[in-house]
Symmetry: C2
Subunit: 151 residues, 2 copies
């Protein structure tokens, strides 16, 4: 049975695919507001911007904060095609994101279900609701194809 993806996750996947075409690790992210309206979308741009912090999640968090005029994205939701790393998980917490939806887990760099499990740390002071596996097979396939082509 094919899983029907929420529209923001579909857009996040399109951003991930566009990132792959630029030679970036194929991760895409979207932020929606409380009404479900899409505020911003981005793919990884670490190589293009020569910026090690330019993960898709960081870019959409920074853009959404600019749009809302606040460093706190209260009631906003984040959709991302890969489990966030420790940098992005902490930024998600600081931004007070309400819910995180991600596609594929990331055993190598993930920080929600893997590694530091940041939202379960006593030093994490805002924990979003987290829904993993939303488009998991597609998320895994994107990463697998990317690294296969790199070898």
């Amino acid at each position: 049975m094919k899983q029907v993806l929420p529209e923001p996750m579909r857009v996040a996947f399109a951003e991930a695919e566009a990132a792959a075409l630029r030679g970036e690790v194929p991760v895409g992210a979207v932020i929606t507001n409380a009404a479900g309206t899409m505020l911003t979308k981005a793919g990884n741009r670490t190589l293009e911007e020569q910026d090690p912090t330019a993960h898709a999640e960081m870019i959409v968090i920074r853009q959404a904060a600019k749009i809302l005029g606040s460093e706190r994205l209260v009631d906003c939701n984040l959709y991302v095609t890969l489990e966030p790393c420790a940098m992005c998980a902490a930024a998600i917490s600081f931004a007070r994101i309400e819910r995180v939806y991600f596609a594929a887990a990331d055993e190598k760099m993930g920080a929600i279900e893997n590694g530091p499990r940041f939202f379960n740390q006593p030093t994490c002071h805002h924990r979003p609701e987290v829904y993993g596996g939303i488009g998991e097979a597609k998320g895994q396939e994107l990463m697998r194809n990317f690294f296969k082509n790199k070898r």
Copy 2:
């Protein structure tokens, strides 16, 4: 006996004090290259820039990457007045920073000696050398004064 601070840490403290005057959490950071030349300095700007990711460490990492034209800051050292959080610790790792010198530990948000101890995680793939307590008393005092004035 008064500890003699390395020059980059002195500059980081000046950045932290300037941040406090702007109403920001008083943290300052400096990046030097292999020759010990200061590449960039910054204080926290999360409120001013309405950007939850604008910690001092993140700003200097992004600036240094722009200056060096690479997302990898090989052979560079980071000086910061407070133990980095999980976001900054992961960014330090991604940027391949060689050495991290920090002043005060941060039990509430720190991610090197506290919380996730990110550099000890199996999902951390580059571990800098870390030197804590470089100007510890001054770092603690800055934070204490800041939060006392907030109450």
